[in-house]
Symmetry: C2
Subunit: 211 residues, 2 copies
């Protein structure tokens, strides 16, 4: 019997990279891929990849490699991409509208089910075939359309109150683009996507390279 292994956060972060690379590989018509080649395509060591995958099971064939389609299905299952999550975006400004049109929602099996805003001029408009509802109707809409995940794309000062409303309405996960720490009950999952972190990071490294 396989021993229970602790999965590192870093491993979970790499799985989506494996997934997207397998998709490309599959489109190229390749049926088998080695950790060596997968690693080359991603700039990750083969040992790292084998270790990551092995913590979830034995997906490969010794002496052969990994069957692309099968591994894709396995990683998809691990990531829960086969769960058909329903998504709502809150805050239909530039970023919110871009997210509403985000093609990876479809590629990864998520469904855009609702949009919310507080501005009466925006409410009622259609973005990517979905009508924008007023944030005050969040309770009803989340229940009716069985929304699992709320995306926060409102200005930072409103992020916490929007999060509270989403939680009360019944979402299970929050994808937060507002540059602000958000507090949620323990049973809610939250992932922060503060773009300024990446940008500052770039600035840091450029500064040091140019010295």
């Amino acid at each position: 019997m396989r021993q229970k292994v602790v999965i590192s956060k870093a491993t979970i972060d790499r799985l989506p990279l494996y997934f997207r690379t397998l998709r490309v590989t599959k489109e190229e018509g390749r049926e088998i891929i080695s950790s060596e080649e997968l690693g080359r395509r991603l700039g990750i060591t083969p040992e790292q990849i084998r270790k990551d995958l092995a913590s979830f099971g034995q997906f490969g064939k010794k002496g052969v490699g990994y069957y692309v389609h099968e591994l894709m299905r396995n990683i998809g299952e691990i990531l829960g991409l086969d769960n058909n999550w329903n998504i709502a975006v809150v805050g239909i400004g530039h970023l919110g509208a871009a997210l509403a049109n985000y093609q990876n929602f479809i590629t990864l099996g998520f469904n855009l089910m609702a949009l919310f805003d507080a501005d009466e001029d925006v409410v009622g408009t259609i973005v990517n075939k979905v009508k924008v509802d007023h944030i005050n109707d969040v309770n009803q809409v989340v229940k009716e359309r069985n929304i699992h995940i709320g995306v926060i794309a409102v200005p930072a000062p409103f992020a916490q109150e929007v999060a509270d409303k989403l939680v009360t309405a019944g979402v299970t996960g929050i994808w937060n683009f507002a540059p602000r720490k958000i507090v949620v009950p323990e049973h809610i999952c939250i992932v922060n996507e503060d773009l300024s972190v990446g940008l500052s990071n770039l600035s840091y490294h450029i500064t040091r390279k140019l010295l």
Copy 2:
């Protein structure tokens, strides 16, 4: 003399969080903040914060705390946010347009200087007061406007060729939103902002919470 310390990647990722929290603190009129309080606001332990800051110098006063304005200036300098980086966005689709309107460029001291696209219908349009140029003119424009950073917001299959063009034109850094591994010469800095990683992460954790 202070010993040379290796700075962890994780530390660099936290500095922007400190920076943005200090800004809010400053706006509230607070002049001094302790690692204890900064930690509470961010969900990070005070020890971690002190350790992070100490690797760059002695910014605090024992028994007192950190002077908000001074610490902000110090972190800003470390991150190179005082360098007035000039930015160009390539690929003016939904995401590219949203990034062109990204307010944190201004907050963090970056200047949006140019936009590029390959679509003749998009070239010539104005987004956030900047005219969209054709990607074929990238060499000239990057030189003329002294662009340091290129933001890639084109579909994945075009990401590598756009990166090559940006590098040839003379940028020092690339902020890549395309879900594709990009290869650049060693003297070029690159930060990947693959949104599907965060989204998959959320899916993974929700799946496990709902079991």
